[in-house]
């Protein structure tokens, strides 16, 4: 497959693995957090851990928007979808995200709610046009990457003068979450967990650029390497991080220069800031309330805001107390440290955020990596 196989080349991968082994100081531990679920997935899907030396470890971050969506927002959406006049349009991977007491959009759909899986924001607009007598709500979710398409959709609804179309906005921001992790007591004060560097977001950075990370590199003294989602991108980024640590540097470097520049996509940023504004705080599953980490529609666009039109009230659902997602998302614990992992919490019946999407740390580990826990009897 053109433009994909080039970034999955085994020979180059082995060369990079060799360079990492040669340059990583065996006396030192290198603990790098990859922020994005896309990176977590690539690590697991291609078995990258097998190619790294034991003292270079990857910690899986909170960068999966489906995973970090709190149960309360799912309950709000279910309540909305149960209204007979509403058609709720969602991305497929939201369907199984647990709300309170085992509720999910999938179950609500089976009970009769009109919930439709869409692949693009345009599909939702089309459904609104085809159903003038119904209220069509788009469940908007995602980091900086998926916010511009939602903005474009609102512009389109405006142009088409659609009166039956609204957005349930759950867009969140990457930098506040990274800051929250670095400022959490686990990491900053007690020093229980060290993070020696970050693999920075790929797609998010195509929008926001590399500049927003300069603050972290400076303030927290941690190297950041922006990397693409292909396995060779990851290997190269890890090598770049090892070099920064060895040379005691903490800079923002851009491995993903084929798609990312310092300033990002100005047009997209402009559209987003025209239509959206910051919420004072937004709840993240596993992290709790994170200040200035979520977006909502500006007052001028309130007619497209489902929370306004349907007078939706914030619902809260407490995470399962035995669930270790919070600690896993901050890199304090590993999936196997959680009592629920693989017992009551599996991809079929996710309890916590990390098991919800294939990009979550627990789901990726369960789906691709759990064989590493077991001694294999290899018979040839």
């Amino acid at each position: 497959m053109k433009y994909a196989d080039e970034f999955r080349d085994k020979e180059i991968a082995l060369g990079l693995a060799k360079a990492i082994r040669a340059e990583a100081d065996p006396q030192k531990l290198y603990r790098f957090m990859e922020f994005c679920g896309g990176h977590t997935h690539a690590i697991s899907r291609y078995g990258l851990e097998d190619m790294l030396p034991k003292n270079v470890r990857m910690i899986h971050g909170p960068g999966c928007p489906v995973c970090v969506l709190p149960g309360g927002r799912i309950d709000m959406a279910i309540r909305l979808a149960e209204r007979p006049d509403v058609i709720l349009c969602v991305y497929g991977d939201l369907m199984r995200v647990p709300g309170s007491q085992g509720a999910s959009l999938l179950k609500a759909k089976a009970r009769g709610a009109d919930i439709r899986m869409v692949y693009s924001t345009i599909d939702a607009i089309r459904i609104a046009e085809d159903n003038p007598g119904r209220e069509v709500v788009f469940f908007a979710i995602g980091f900086e990457t998926t916010t511009p398409p939602t903005a474009v959709m609102i512009r389109l609804a405006e142009k088409k003068q659609l009166e039956n179309f609204t957005v349930f906005c759950n867009h969140v921001l990457t930098p506040p979450a990274m800051q929250n992790i670095l400022e959490s007591p686990d990491i900053r004060n007690i020093g229980r967990v060290e993070i020696d560097g970050f693999v920075g977001p790929a797609h998010v950075s195509t929008i926001i650029g590399t500049a927003p990370y300069e603050f972290f590199a400076e303030e927290f003294g941690k190297p950041v390497v922006i990397a693409g989602f292909e396995p060779l991108d990851m290997m190269q980024a890890i090598l770049m991080l090892v070099r920064q640590v060895n040379e005691d540097r903490h800079e923002v470097e851009n491995q993903y220069s084929r798609a990312v520049n310092r300033d990002g996509n100005l047009r997209a940023k402009e559209e987003v800031s025209d239509i959206f504004e910051l919420r004072d705080q937004f709840e993240w599953r596993g992290l709790g309330q994170v200040p200035y980490s979520g977006l909502k529609l500006k007052r001028a666009y309130a007619i497209y805001d489902a929370e306004v039109r349907f007078d939706m009230h914030e619902l809260r659902v407490d995470d399962n107390p035995a669930c270790e997602c919070g600690a896993i998302l901050r890199g304090v614990k590993k999936p196997v440290d959680c009592k629920l992992f693989g017992t009551v919490c599996t991809p079929e019946t996710p309890m916590g955020s990390c098991m919800v999407s294939s990009e979550g740390a627990c789901a990726a580990y369960w789906t691709y990596g759990r064989f590493r826990d077991h001694q294999q009897r290899r018979v040839s």
Partner: protein
């Protein structure tokens, strides 16, 4: 005397509730459309069942329902699929399929032209596979109670003497053979889904595998431990099932698994794993190591097995993991698909 006053108006007509009522309209639909398409001596006798002779030995029986959406897709339709699927389930026992039944649940308003095309595809698929559709049933339901057409087929076949293929038969050291490229059917269906439509040249691999199986049995005999057709859930589901039933694990090599570039690209775009995508004309065979080369050669000599490959081996593993060396150089599990990848694929 004419049996019916007016001919069935296939060009402009459609199914209505009277075609399922047991009256004259139903009899006319059955004789004018289904008998025409399936034409054989058993149906011609017009009984509620069909009688046929059986030889001594073991028989196999299977049944399957078909609810695929859309009904017509690149490389086939619900009719050909309903024959191939059931023929293949019989063939996976190493058996020779003989007779099928077909039951139709039709939504009122379904056009005769479509029904005729589907019935003719069934007839043609049956003739190609060397089986006969010897009994059937027709029901018509109100508009909105079925999505156009659902078909159920059942079938019987005979097992060659001495053969006993079963999912618990795999042994450590056995080879894993597949008959060709993975994921063609699922991607062909997805490319035609209303909310997903994308352009691809991929067509469904829907095909009857009984002739390929006969050649494999000839070459491998009892060295073939078991066969499965990796339909819903793909190769991943099939190997995980076998691992559990045979109480062992598998080691696969990703590099050896054939996937068409168009399928790989579609999966990349949609975030799917080709190993989870459905096939309707492929089989997995677990074969004793000493017979593997002969069976693989027989597969490759057959038009439906041209791209056959040895993709790995059975290993001892209490956890029943299906593991794979990725073409990138690392290792991973090939797990069951969780949740529903795409409903109504067959």
């Amino acid at each position: 005397m004419k049996a019916y006053q007016r001919k069935l108006d296939i060009r402009n007509g459609c199914v209505d509730l009277s075609h399922g009522s047991g009256g004259r309209a139903m009899a006319q639909l059955i004789s004018g459309l289904f008998h025409e398409a399936f034409g054989n001596e058993w149906l011609a006798r017009g009984n509620d069942q069909s009688a046929f002779d059986v030889g001594a030995g073991r028989m196999v029986m299977t049944t399957d329902g078909y609810v695929v959406s859309p009904l017509f897709f690149p490389g086939g339709n619900i009719g050909s699929l309903a024959v191939h699927g059931t023929v293949n389930d019989i063939a996976m026992a190493g058996a020779r399929p003989l007779y099928l039944s077909a039951s139709f649940i039709i939504e009122e308003g379904f056009r005769f032209t479509d029904l005729k095309m589907i019935a003719e595809s069934m007839g043609e698929a049956a003739r190609t596979a060397g089986v006969h559709i010897v009994t059937g049933d027709t029901k018509v339901v109100e508009r909105g109670k079925a999505d156009g057409l659902f078909i159920s087929t059942a079938g019987v076949g005979v097992v060659p003497h001495g053969l006993d293929l079963s999912a618990e038969n795999a042994r450590v050291g056995d080879r894993v053979l597949i008959s060709g490229t993975l994921g063609d059917h699922g991607v062909a269906i997805m490319s035609k889904r209303q909310n997903l439509a994308f352009e691809t040249e991929i067509v469904s691999d829907s095909a009857a595998l009984n002739d390929l199986v006969a050649k494999m049995v000839e070459a491998g005999g009892r060295g073939i431990r078991l066969m499965r057709d990796p339909t819903r859930g793909g190769l991943a589901a099939t190997l995980n099932e076998i691992a559990r039933q045979s109480d062992l694990g598998f080691h696969l090599r990703e590099e050896a698994i054939p996937v068409k570039p168009g399928v790989a690209a579609a999966c990349e775009l949609l975030g799917l794993d080709p190993l989870h995508v459905a096939n309707e004309g492929k089989l997995v065979a677990i074969v004793a190591p000493e017979n593997a080369a002969a069976v693989l050669a027989a597969m490759r000599a057959h038009p439906l097995g041209r791209d056959a490959a040895d993709i790995g081996e059975a290993v001892a593993d209490d956890h029943h993991f299906v593991q794979m060396a990725t073409s990138f150089g690392g290792g991973r599990i090939v797990d069951w698909l969780s949740g529903e990848q795409l409903p109504r694929i067959c």
